[in-house]
Symmetry: C2
Subunit: 363 residues, 2 copies
């Protein structure tokens, strides 16, 4: 089998982190005949510098054609004042939209070796394992009108539109219920139905989808603000959380920070399975950003990028054993006290990006 | 002087908590000749039961005429399926909108006696004192269109509209900068300018307002998702946070939960000063909800409601010394180890709602 990967390292620490994944790919091709074929493109600030756009048409075509896209990170102070339409984030948003990656899976797990790095009390996060399912191609991110109007008299009006259709809610709820079945069988849906009409519809459609096809799964509803509170108060109460694009952005960041493992968390963005082949388009990216302050120094933590590749093995290529092994290798390296600077703790050995990648590879 | 207060105890634990404020008002009238004149109305579920609306026109008139409104809490399972337009929250939202209470002040402070009740490590929250300034009459809460459309074919579309005009951002930024000057002189403004046009405008207007009138205050901008993370990671980095209605809803709830003092936090919602009299319309309410599960049992914590009245003394009546004294009384009672069930700790003495109110009053 040929497995086509399209790599978009992006800006900041993206390229360094991606370098460590490249080593793992090379090893898997050599030792296990995995058949990965890679191509590479530009996204974010570097793409803007090269083409004047946050991603070129050519690279978009390659992303659409690949079995999976591996994405590093975008942005940095250098591009803080480029026009809105070509800002680094626009590349990522276009990839999500044009590949129809509506389901963003964000595990918030607490690596046992890192429980003490959380700002929460260790007993509240030890063993934490939440999966946040964020809708990724709808809501206020893409709804129209989205514009700034000049009203005259020195007044402007900024407008964004939150829109959700039944089918969009149905399909993301379906993903959440399916994932819950492979875990602890519980889903908590979050919205603001007390204020937003899209929240009323969200609540209804999730409830109906549950009743029609997933009544074996335990379903709970929570207002998104209360959900944010509960994440801080007692995060282990959750199994799978399903929510919209904007609430998902906020809540998954809070959840990620709770774990103390922010530099370690991966994510997967998936499309619908193709009617014929069953294949789904997919993009994998670390939850952390481009961290321009430490870029190019060889000290960035590559674990989130490597763990994103593990998700890629699992969801795009059904290489479950290989994904498990790679995840175990990460946990082992941490247990051995090998750490990059961001997760350094007394008694551990501090290493750089490359050494961390090597350590995981040799496990 | 006559000081007109309009009391809206609402549902759940609202009435019990308000009862303790009533005692303080009576004491101040008697012992200090404070001249408070109170009237009382219905809001939320109890108003729906009485009038079929979440607040009656009559009570709206009284709220508009009063010097200040004291608000308890609304909602409960009993009203979970009443129509959207008359749900309990609609009463609160109408009060905010019709009284033009655009500035919601939510202090997130950690009472020293309660630092260990936080889910965060005590050293991260001890001495925490953040003021969140949330825009309260704009954004996605009130923007039109806000509706559910039937698209046929079993498809519906839920729409909400996020709208901000220059003047709305200007005036809330002004409040934030003014408040910062009375504190540590730092403001952090949060939005999602990388995704939302209203965020782009928000960022621009805050920046311009700062430059034009408040350049002595230190200003920082943060993306709202990163802001949520930073609140969990290192909350003490903040002094004043200013943000929009929806982000403010989420972020202030997270901040409140961090303190370990959720049942204790007050809020003030203020209008613009009247051109002639300088008076501003105002509503004061606890951050916690109606807690239907413990309502009517005499065990609810009245501190948030009492602290809201302290804010009322400060902001509506300029009774700074009295407000300070009331806040000190609360801290003293906590220091003495007198606690309601929600903040009970080993070695403390557990009391009910009324006893807690008495203890504060006798301080
Ligand atoms: C970079 C930005 C556009 C993006 C988002 O808001 O979705 C990021 O915060 C994320 O969560 O992936
Ligand atoms: C009750 C609800 C409408 C309200 C809001 O969303 O503003 C509440 O959550 C709050 O924060 O005051």
């Amino acid at each position: 089998t040929v497995r086509n990967l399209f790599l978009l390292p992006g800006d900041g620490i993206g390229p360094e982190a991606m370098g460590e994944v490249r080593k793992i790919i090379a090893y898997m091709n050599e030792a296990m005949n995995a058949g990965f074929v890679t191509d590479e493109g530009l996204v974010g600030g570097c793409a803007y510098d090269a083409h004047g756009a946050a991603i070129s048409e050519d690279d978009m075509k390659k992303a659409l054609a690949a079995d999976a896209v591996l994405f590093g990170a975008v942005g940095g102070p250098k591009w803080d004042s480029v026009p809105y339409e070509v800002r680094p984030e626009a590349g990522l948003l276009r990839l999500r939209k044009d590949l129809e990656l509506f389901a963003n899976l964000r595990p918030a797990i607490c690596y046992p070796a890192l429980a003490s790095a959380s700002s929460l009390k260790p007993e509240l996060v030890e063993g934490l394992d939440i999966l946040i399912i964020r809708e990724l191609t709808g809501g206020v991110y893409f709804g129209e009108p989205k514009e700034i109007i000049d009203l005259g008299n020195g007044q402007k009006r900024g407008i964004d539109t939150q829109v959700y259709d039944t089918y969009e809610i149905e399909r993301i709820a379906g993903v959440a219920f399916e994932m819950a079945r492979t875990r602890n069988n519980r889903v908590c849906s979050m919205e603001k139905r007390n204020v937003m009409k899209s929240g009323v519809l969200w609540n209804q459609v999730v409830t109906e989808t549950h009743k029609a096809k997933y009544s074996d799964v335990q379903l709970e509803h929570m207002l998104a603000d209360a959900g944010g509170m509960q994440l801080v108060r007692q995060p282990k109460q959750f199994d799978v959380i399903v929510t919209d694009n904007l609430f998902g952005d906020m809540l998954s960041d809070v959840a990620a920070m709770l774990t103390g493992s922010l530099g370690m968390l991966p994510s997967a963005s998936l499309g619908a399975p193709d009617g014929k082949t069953g294949k789904r388009k997919a993009l994998y990216e670390p939850v952390h950003g481009s961290a321009p302050d430490i870029a190019g120094k060889g000290i960035a933590n590559p674990i989130a990028m490597i763990a994103s590749f593990a998700m890629c093995l699992r969801y795009s290529f059904n290489m479950v054993k290989e994904a498990d092994n790679l995840e175990k290798a990460i946990a082992n390296v941490l247990d051995k006290g090998i750490r990059t600077g961001d997760i350094m703790a007394p008694g551990s050995r501090q290493v750089g990006t490359v050494e961390m990648g090597d350590a995981i590879l040799s496990e």
